[in-house]
Amino acid sequence: MAIKIDEIKKLTLEEYKTDVHNDWCPGCGDFGILQSVQLALFELGIPRHKAVVFSGIGCSGKTPHYVNVYGIHTLHGRAVPFAIGAKLANPDLNVIVVGGDGDGLGIGVGHFVSSGRRNVNLTYIVYNNAVYGLTKGQASPTLKLGMKTKSLPKPNINDAVNPIALALVSGYTFIARGYAYDVKHLKEIIKKAILHKGLAFIDVLQPCPTYNDINTKDWYSGKDRIDPVTGKPIPRIYKLEENGYDPYVHNPDDPNEIQQKWIQVVERSLEWGDKIPIGIFYVNEHVSSYEERIQGTIEHYLEKPPAHQKISLSDGRTNVKIDRLLAEFTTRVI
């Protein structure tokens, strides 16, 4: 993404925060994601008026109200199309979309998939806690089959979607996973996602302390499995980059390489339980963005996108000349 670093002055981190009272539950993973978003914007020096955070519905939907940039809290499942509209109208905006797993992978999954086909230049962060928190803990699309969180009357009889694999087959060109309680790691991923040209997806493991008593902070950090030698927990989460994992597609013309990358993404995305990878799974910088594709048919698009076009003369009349178009309808023999 062509970030225009603030020409005016570098803001403080505080200036990316609002004074709106945050009513998430104490200990909620959402706090870590919020902080990571604020840090990413701050560290990249994105001017406040050049950034927009779009959100869906649910606890995660409140995020924009806590970030001091343009904040658009939209409808359940529809944050991405709202964001795409704004981004295509004005590609100078840095657009971040946040939403829950139910939002993006349940009610909004059609948009999740279709957006991958477009590769619009924006960053989509999914808060993945496997439950619908704000409606008191129903099973979300990422809750595994047979799981029974404390809020469920019966074990879950739906299987879970695999967000990483779904993003891959849908065409996302940057796919990563973060952990809400590892802010330092997550904010670096968010920064890379913002800088990525194209559609970036970040699946964030976000414990819900109120309704999900299975995938808790303690569970992720392995408190239930103590190493008999060291006496310390064996964390379930590990970082892909620490194992020499290379997410980048280097030669887009080599079908074998693409195939290998896809296979490794799917393999890692299937890891769960004892070993849960976080980090960047996949990056393909060689796919054209939707903006570039529009530019292919509208030559002046990036220079004069819809939001920067004048539509009237100084006297208020339209500035359009449609004679050329009307010629098609003339009743005079040409």
């Binding site: 199309p81 709202f82 295509l88 449609i322 009307l326 009743t331």
Partner: protein, 644 residues
């Protein structure tokens, strides 16, 4: 001899060139300075089902179609069977002389109901079920019948041009049929040639070949057939600059002229033609600073569904762009939630709603006006929206800029109601005058430096200064939750009341500010006892029927309501004046517009003329319905049912 007064129909299977045939005919007439009005009927089908096109031609302005047909131009038996009963005595039938033995039962696309209806008509007249029988019946009833040997003519042309391939090119039969009709009408072949050139402008070879075959048939007809009772002749029309255009094209051009720079849509009949036209013409000419030549453009996005279509348009609207989506009933059903969000967050967005027959999939390719109440009420909760209806193709063009003005001035969604009849009609109208297209953006501000920006600032009018996303010092928040002036969530009971009042106040302002002429228009005799009230595309047939009735000495007036929500009660009452009888005319079962009028002006509607069979009202039907009312012979509700 009827000169320049003609009701002409061409029909045939879908995919056989009925449209391009009608296009050539209409355009040839228009090139000669004649007025045309064309109505297109087609099935939800790609190839094979029956479609037809009725074109009315006159040297004076016409706005509607007739049920009666003067010229029935066919090249398949189905068209003849389906429409024979409409051909007037003294009229003309063109048919394929090689098909005389084909019977009604042999045509699979004539479904059971139509088969029964056709046979009933024929047996009542004592006529057999073959093309030959029908032709004889027509001849006996004073209809001039012209059997064209299409295949033989193709063979003749192949021989003439020394190209045996041509003998098999039955794709040209549509144009041959049109040319035969124009020969019988003694119309200038040069204009026919120009029209063919235009219709096939992308394919010169095809155009040339079609011109050859058209000329071949034209000469054949002149040589072999006797004269008809009809004639078309060009009229000089240097003073008025006319264009010939369809409704969806007028809407698309209105969007370009009206400053719309973003359109998102999901394919649906009959709305998608507009979006495809926009995509095809996405780059256009602008007058730049100091009069220089510049280019403008519209971004058109085909979305995954109508939910994405409206939400994407709203997103673009937030970025300060005039944005819209175009859809039909089923798509609009999916847009209800997005519409409410735009109302709640005061985002200008335009939904162009091409009505078709519902409910559910209904009649995908057929006409209706069933979505008025849905447009007025779509969405949960209470929020302001403006519903605006155009009455004809010319109005559509100028109304588009207006609906965008309303959306921006009142910062709220606007539903522009069009319908299938207008979308797919073709008519000669005055060339669009761009000096009449004014852009008013309301309280949109480019620069903000006045302290803390409050997107939903309480004001006397309910309208708050609006900025585009990306404006410095003017960060704002939006949410579908109830919110405070900054746009943050609140459930405070006092703010709630103030915010609801603020949003709804804008409709009162809209009613005060919108010009009377843009709210409702009156036609005819203002002091008539009878006042027709109607909306949308019924306008054409109503005005044409009024012309006929006036020449018979009847006095009538017509109040066309364009602003349907908020309802301009005072204006409508004023226009109705002292009329004793109200006649509601519309295309639905439940008199939706009549319900609104009754509720608003607290007065019963005396007569309803309704039609909901998927076909637009003809001049013939509206004339008869009105006449029976004027003669005091009508029931309170008349349901029209003509079709084909």
């Amino acid at each position: 001899m009827k000169i320049n007064q003609l009701s002409w129909m061409i029909g045939g299977p879908q995919g056989s060139g009925v449209d391009s045939g009608a296009n050539i005919f209409s355009r040839a007439c228009a090139y000669g300075g004649l007025y045309v009005f064309g109505k297109r009927e087609y099935h939800s089908n790609i190839k094979g089902e029956h479609s037809n096109y009725v074109v009315r031609v006159s040297s004076n302005l016409i706005r509607s179609h007739l049920d009666e047909i003067d010229f029935l131009v066919t090249f398949d038996p189905e068209t003849l069977f389906r429409h024979i009963h409409k051909v007037v005595p003294g009229g003309v039938i063109i048919y394929d002389v090689n098909q005389e033995n084909i019977t009604v039962d042999k045509i699979p696309t004539i479904d059971k109901q139509a088969n029964k209806r056709i046979k009933k008509f024929l047996s009542e007249k004592g006529v057999g079920y073959s093309v030959g029988d029908v032709v004889n019946y027509a001849r006996d009833n004073g209809i001039l019948v012209y059997g064209i040997p299409y295949v033989k003519l193709l063979e003749g042309l192949a021989e003439k041009l020394g190209n045996p391939q041509i003998a098999k090119m039955d794709v040209m039969i549509n144009v041959m049929a049109v040319s035969a009709s124009l020969a019988l009408l003694k119309y200038d072949f040069n204009l026919v040639k120009e029209a063919i050139k235009y219709v096939f402008k992308a394919k010169k070879k095809v155009a040339d070949l079609n011109i050859e075959s058209a000329k071949f048939v034209y000469d054949y007809v002149l040589e072999n057939f006797e004269e008809t009772n009809y004639k078309l002749q060009p009229v000089g029309r240097d003073a008025v600059d006319l264009i010939i255009i369809q409704g969806y094209q007028a809407s698309a051009l209105g969007k370009i002229a009206g400053g719309c720079r973003f359109q998102s849509y999901y394919p649906i009949t009959p709305a998608s033609d507009e979006s495809v036209y926009l995509e095809d013409n996405a780059v256009f000419d602008l007058i730049g600073e100091n009069g220089s030549e510049e280019k403008g453009s519209i971004v058109v996005v085909q979305t995954e569904d109508e939910i994405a279509a409206i939400t994407m348009a709203i997103g673009a609207g937030l970025a300060g762009v005039r944005a819209s989506t175009a859809t039909s009933g089923p798509g609009f059903s999916l847009m209800a939630e997005g519409l409410g969000w735009a109302g709640m967050n005061e985002v200008p967005v335009v939904v162009t709603l091409y009505q078709r027959g519902g409910p559910s999939t209904g009649l995908p390719t057929r006409h209706s006006q069933e979505d008025l109440l849905f447009a007025v009420y779509a969405g949960h909760g209470e929020f302001p929206r403006i519903v605006y209806a155009s009455g004809d193709i010319e109005e559509i063009f100028y109304d588009v800029a207006k609906v965008f003005n309303f959306a921006e001035k009142y910062q709220t969604p606007v539903i522009h109601l069009i319908d299938k009849a207008m979308a797919n009609s073709i008519a000669t109208v005055k060339k669009f005058d761009l000096s009449r297209v004014k852009i008013e953006r309301g309280a949109l501000v480019d620069v903000f430096s006045d302290g803390v920006y409050k997107r939903f600032k309480f004001t006397e009018t309910g309208i708050s200064p609006r900025v585009k996303l990306g404006t410095e010092n003017a960060i704002f928040w939006n949410t579908g939750d109830e919110h405070d002036e900054l746009g943050h969530i609140t459930e405070d009971h006092e703010i709630r009341t103030m915010m609801v009042d603020k949003r709804m106040r804008k409709l009162e302002i809209a009613l005060q500010e919108i010009e009377d002429e843009d709210k409702a228009i009156v036609y005819g005799d203002e002091d008539s006892d009878y006042a027709i009230i109607s909306w949308g595309s019924t306008k054409g047939a109503i005005l044409d029927a009024m012309d006929m009735l006036r020449s018979e000495g009847y006095r009538l007036k017509f109040v066309q309501v364009k602003l349907l929500h908020p309802f301009p009660k005072d204006r409508v009452l004023n226009l109705i004046g002292n009329s004793k009888f109200l006649i509601d005319i519309e295309h639905n079962k439940t008199a939706q517009f009549g319900q609104i009028v009754k509720r608003e002006i607290l007065r019963d509607i005396d007569y309803h003329v309704l039609k909901y069979n998927g076909r637009p009202m003809s001049l013939s039907e509206v004339y008869s319905a009105l006449k029976s009312i004027l003669e005091n012979k009508a029931n309170k509700i008349q349901v029209l049912n003509n079709g084909d």
